[in-house]
Symmetry: C2
């Protein structure tokens, strides 16, 4: 099965399949004589696994962990559960953050006439002069670097097994 078929069958785009291969999330797959990637049903199964994990919001690193556990018949379900619950906590944190912003804003909008006059509590809050912004003090960084190792080269011709996949072995 070529990459187009595999993409259709798995729901992961061909672009992303190549990308996942390039970063080592999935092993290099078989090739035809002409160099076309050739996917087995097992490969497609793995791609579907990935798509579902992605649809649940898992990061590439987490998917790598989950894939490793999936393959590991001696896994402890506790490990899977831990990853899932950590992710749940993160999802809830983000959702809460978004909801807080949303609530602040819709409260302000509720007090805005929304007519052709300029006066508006939204603009007023944004342009407040002083430094003690009563409610919404969120000094948090919008992006946290969650310990991902830097590594630029994505050429791993030989040694497909990526030996150590603990602690985030995905290189980009």
């Amino acid at each position: 099965m070529n990459i187009g078929k595999a993409a259709a069958a798995s729901g992961v785009s061909a672009k992303m399949i190549r990308y996942y291969e390039s970063i080592g999330l999935i092993p290099e797959v078989a090739r035809t004589e002409a160099g076309y990637r050739d996917y087995s049903d097992k490969d497609v199964h793995r791609l579907r696994f990935i798509r579902r994990a992605r649809d649940l919001g898992f990061s590439v690193d987490q998917m790598a962990e989950l894939l490793a556990l999936w393959q590991d018949r001696g896994r402890a379900s506790a490990d899977v559960k831990r990853i899932a619950l950590e992710h749940v906590a993160e999802l809830e944190r983000k959702a809460r953050e978004l909801m807080e912003m949303s609530e602040t804003l819709s409260h302000l909008a509720g007090n805005c006439q929304g007519d052709d006059r300029p006066d508006c509590p939204i603009i007023n809050v944004l342009s407040e002069q002083d430094g003690f912004e009563s409610c919404h003090e969120h000094a948090q960084p919008r992006f946290g670097k969650t310990g991902i190792e830097p590594d630029r080269k994505r050429r791993a011709s030989s040694d497909s097994t990526v030996s150590d996949s603990k602690g985030g072995g995905i290189r980009r």
Copy 2:
């Protein structure tokens, strides 16, 4: 006031101040003889406005709109309100998406023993064979986890000769 002071006073990092200037969100500021950026209180006030908008999750494009309205004494509060409410809708949509993922996952985790045996409903769902996925049907919207739609249409002149920044459009 140099950029470090302006950053401390506004809560926007020096890096981001330069970035916002480079994309045209804020105008080029005065310079000292040595080439250091020199911020007035008015400039800092604008930066604080930006920081508050950013804290409410507004995108650079929306901040540009809001800044324009802020400066416009003949603005209609309806315009501000519209921007805010569109953003609220987007925030709510994203939050809902995250919560759905979170709920699906925590439900699965709730049925997982979390012991040293391998059996685990989370893994089972991820590796389901057919296209069954009863609960979490998402049709095929196929966008990122936080669903940031590409409404990108900004024109970049393909080369950054540092010269043109008067256009008014935000370029990156």
